[in-house]
């Protein structure tokens, strides 16, 4: 058992400051254990999000010593000695203390045109393991939004949020694009409205991903290639103009009869 100082940012949208808490640290504890100890003793109103405490839900993202981390998966004994600084994610507006308003991400989720499969044959679809594995990597995403937090396009440029979906949603678009069954074409949308071109592949998102998804290499770069191919290849472009299915809106696709 050791004593440790946590510097926790406390405040709300109107402003705030660091507060120092001196607390105990036991073997194997993670940053979230110490935040909970502070809540249970001297600061019951210290706001933080958490759910599973097992790295599965992505609720407790914060910046620990300036880096986006899950508080539940960051062991105290693996941080450098000395005070540990805990601040809320910078890219999103503050609600209170370590809790930020992540509604930007939910708004982006609403813009994703729905998954659209062909009618299911008797007994179910046939898909092969090698065909589903690419999508499965992206579906490991726990929506901690740390990739969004660290992405310079929106971290340092609030004005870009209106037309930039961010890494979390680029992997969603890539997943749908690579889904063996999906028939909805979202390539123009990703290029024109979701700001894929703003990403200059610095791989910051890949570095912070707690699920070790290769966001840049396996999602963003292939997505850029597909979007570019579709846009600049005149044959493909003409083909799509002629055969183009009517763009299915999210709402229309969803109202299809219950499968």
């Amino acid at each position: 058992m050791a004593e440790v100082t946590l510097r926790v940012w406390r405040g709300d949208a109107s402003g705030g400051d660091f507060e120092n808490y001196v607390t105990t640290q036991n073997e194997g504890e993670v940053v979230l254990d110490l935040i909970h100890r502070i809540q249970a003793t001297e600061a019951p109103d210290l706001a933080c999000r958490w759910n599973c405490k097992a790295g599965k839900c992505g609720s407790c993202a914060a910046e620990i010593n300036g880096k986006p981390r899950l508080m539940c998966m960051t062991r105290m004994d693996q941080l450098p000695e000395g005070p540990v600084t805990v601040t809320p994610m910078k890219t999103f507006p503050i609600i209170r203390d370590l809790v930020t308003d992540v509604s930007f991400n939910y708004a982006m989720a609403e813009k994703v045109p729905a998954f659209l499969p062909p009618p299911m044959p008797e007994g179910g679809y046939r898909m092969y393991q090698e065909d589903v594995e690419r999508g499965q990597e992206f579906r490991k995403c726990i929506e901690c939004f740390m990739c969004q937090d660290v992405c310079h396009v929106i971290r340092d440029h609030e004005e870009n949020k209106v037309n930039y979906a961010g890494p979390r949603f680029f992997i969603r678009y890539a997943e749908l694009e690579m889904h063996p069954l999906d028939q909805n074409d979202r390539r123009d949308l990703v290029r024109e409205d979701m700001g894929l071109g703003y990403c200059n592949i610095t791989k910051c998102c890949t570095e912070v991903c707690p699920e070790h998804i290769k966001i840049t290499d396996n999602a963003i770069i292939p997505l850029k290639e597909r979007v570019v191919d579709a846009h600049y290849d005149p044959v493909a472009w003409l083909g799509r103009k002629i055969r183009r299915k009517t763009k299915v809106s999210a709402a229309d696709a969803a109202i299809q009869p219950a499968p």
């Binding site: 036991n26 073997e27 194997g28 504890e29 993670v30 254990d33 809540q39 249970a40 003793t41 019951p44 109103d45 210290l46 706001a47 933080c48 999000r49 958490w50 759910n51 599973c52 405490k53 097992a54 790295g55 599965k56 839900c57 609720s59 998966m73 062991r75 609600i95 209170r96 809790v99 992540v102 939910y106 989720a109 609403e110 994703v112 729905a114 998954f115 499969p117 299911m120 179910g124 679809y125 046939r126 898909m127 092969y128 393991q129 589903v132 999508g135 499965q136 579906r139 490991k140 995403c141 726990i142 749908l176 069954l181 999906d182 999210a250 709402a251 696709a253 969803a254 219950a258 499968p259």
Partner: protein, 604 residues
């Protein structure tokens, strides 16, 4: 003076946005009703996300012999026949269609060689039956349903805590009162029907796999609103929770480890489960290690390994080994897959277990055994519902998922929870639609009920000298762990019942510091009444059920008793407040029709 609050009206209101709530929303929305979901957390963070191993459905993709009748039989036997047979029947029949439906909404399950959905072995299931994605099946389920719900344009109220259900003058459900956690502002919802999908109640125990949300809100609100809670004494202690380091004690280790070949060993290195095979499972369980090991590759070459007995049997055995002094250094036993499967196999089949032990415990599960022990995981008990419609005894109130009782009897089989969510989530959605289209005329919400709930919620701010809610929660968890844990006895249960009255007085004396905006101390203060209500029902039921059955084990009554196997214990509130007295009655089980009875006899 009349205070007005933010107010919304919907046809169907769903409280809880895990698998059951999301599936219910899809159903009601598809039938054209106005629907809203309310969740205490952000969308996509509900407890479903933590489910690992898979969802049970007799699709027959791996063993063509599997069908709904075998699944029904396994579920009833696993539940020690305390189940609502009709729920078990509907569940077994409908689960395969619900799994296929998820693929139509974008889910990507692991595949068999011929491109079908792969199914894995789990405890108590005769055949490999669990559709899965590695060991993150819950994430796949919740994300698929979440994306479907969002694409349909459903209203979702995130980080919103419901305090109480509100009736109309005739006693029908008419809405609820809640507050928004970010601001602390109150909000009222009017609804023609409410579906409870609030999950479980494990947070009243010290060692649990449950998150902060598992405070039994739905169980308690249903009881206060006039519904009955059944089987509350039946609590599932999952055999394999992490035990070390202490900071992660209770965290779930998937049963998939055993399904994929992992075995349990004591400090002497012995596979002790062979010594704990109950009579009812003897005929279908292997007697030697050689026989058990053959079974993994071909289920017709040997009988099942005893490590794959139902969870209640395995948890009791681990408990007994530790008590006998054959435990691991931190009070558990060893779960060993390292010596039995290749590192590549383990990392592919159990990626998040590998990650979890590596990061949190510094243990490489491809090289060393895991230290594990029982952890409070699931409550079989819940709101009594009609099997076909999920309707409770209160008009307009429905319940689905963990908050509903009956489906799993005295013990739930692994994998039957995720399938329960989607089968009965849909049924609840259909039930609510049918109720509304049947012309139920719902009156205005009772103002006095709204005012009382809000007054109660803000009271802790006015207490001059009071207690920190975290102290009360910690003491409650320690008391329930010690007195109403895995092995129970009359003296400890009576002590628990008496102590819960003291806790009630302590909760009335909570002092909350700070304001209402995102204040976890206040949020906890508003969760504690539900935690106490649920704890009381569990303790009362456990004291009255003088036998051992499934997730209820009595040291003083170690055997099952035929008489107790004929009824559920049903609790009702006398008064409808959180501190009102609770009365408990015997509620006879539904008689099982002859043709289904024959299925239960088969292979007995």
């Amino acid at each position: 003076m009349t205070v007005t609050y933010e107010h919304h009206d919907y046809d169907v209101l769903i409280i809880g946005a895990g698998g059951a709530g999301l599936r219910a929303a899809i159903e009601a929305k598809q039938q054209g009703l106005s629907v809203a979901l309310i969740t205490k957390s952000l969308l996509g963070k509900a407890h479903t996300v933590m489910a690992e191993g898979g969802m049970a459905a007799a699709m027959g993709n791996v063993y063509a012999e599997d069908n709904w009748m075998v699944h029904f039989r396994d579920t009833m036997r696993g539940g020690k026949y305390l189940n609502n047979y009709r729920m078990a029947e509907i569940h077994a029949k409908e689960a395969p269609d619900r799994v296929l439906e998820l693929e139509q909404w974008g889910a990507l399950f692991d595949r068999t060689k011929d491109g079908k959905i792969l199914q894995r072995d789990f405890g108590g299931h005769r055949y490999a039956r669990l559709a899965h994605v590695g060991d993150r099946t819950g994430l796949e389920l919740i994300r698929t349903l979440q994306q479907k719900v969002v694409s349909m344009g459903t209203d979702v109220f995130m980080e919103c805590k419901v305090l109480k259900l509100v009736h109309d003058d005739e006693g029908k459900i008419a809405g609820c009162v809640a507050y928004r956690r970010p601001t602390g502002e109150f909000v009222t919802f009017g609804a023609k029907a409410i579906i409870l999908a609030t999950g479980g109640a494990g947070k009243s125990w010290k060692f649990t796999s449950n998150s902060w949300e598992g405070t039994g809100d739905g169980h308690a609100m249903a009881l206060w609103a006039g519904a009955e809670l059944i089987d509350m004494e039946c609590i599932q202690f999952h055999p394999t929770g992490m035990v070390w380091p202490l900071s992660v004690r209770g965290l779930l280790v998937t049963e998939g480890v055993r399904g994929d070949g992992g075995v349990l060993r004591n400090s002497e290195g012995k596979r002790f489960m062979f010594n704990y095979v109950a009579d009812m499972f003897r005929a279908e369980t292997a007697e030697t290690e050689e026989e058990a090991d053959k079974w993994y590759d071909d289920h017709s070459a040997g009988r099942r390994p005893p490590e794959l007995l139902p969870r209640d049997e395995v948890a009791r055995a681990i408990n007994a080994e530790v008590k006998a002094g054959r435990g691991s250094p931190h009070g558990g036993v060893y779960l060993d897959i390292a010596s039995r499967r290749s590192a590549e196999f383990i990392r592919r089949r159990l990626p998040s277990m590998y990650h979890q032990f590596m990061e949190l415990a510094g243990v490489d599960i491809t090289k060393e055994p895991m230290e594990i022990g029982p952890t409070n995981h699931y409550i079989m008990g819940g709101v009594k519902v009609d099997a076909d419609t999920a309707h409770t005894s209160v008009p307009g109130l429905f319940a689905a998922g963990e908050v509903a009782g009956g489906m799993h009897g005295a013990n739930r089989l692994g994998g039957n929870s995720l399938s329960d969510l989607i089968v009965f989530g849909r049924r609840a959605g259909m039930g609510a639609v049918e109720y509304i289209q049947g012309g139920a005329a719902v009156g205005a919400m009772r103002r006095d009920e709204i005012d009382a709930a809000i007054a109660e919620a803000v009271a802790p701010f006015d207490v001059e000298e009071g207690e920190n809610p975290y102290d009360i929660q910690r003491d409650l968890q320690e008391m329930m762990q010690a007195n109403v844990g895995i092995i129970r006895t009359a003296s400890e249960l009576e002590d628990a019942i008496a102590q819960l009255d003291v806790f009630t007085e302590r909760v009335k004396n909570i002092k909350v510091k700070g304001g209402r905006a995102y204040n976890p101390g206040w949020n906890l203060a508003t969760d504690l009444p539900a935690m106490l209500t649920v704890s009381k029902c569990v303790a009362l039921g456990a004291n009255l059920r003088k036998e051992s059955r499934g997730g209820h084990t009595r040291e003083d009554f170690p055997k099952a008793d035929a008489h107790f196997g004929t009824f559920n214990l049903a609790h009702q509130s006398q008064g409808g407040n959180w501190d009102s007295p609770i009365v408990t009655n015997e509620s006879p089980l539904l008689p099982v029709p002859e043709e289904l009875k024959a299925l239960l006899e088969e292979g007995k």
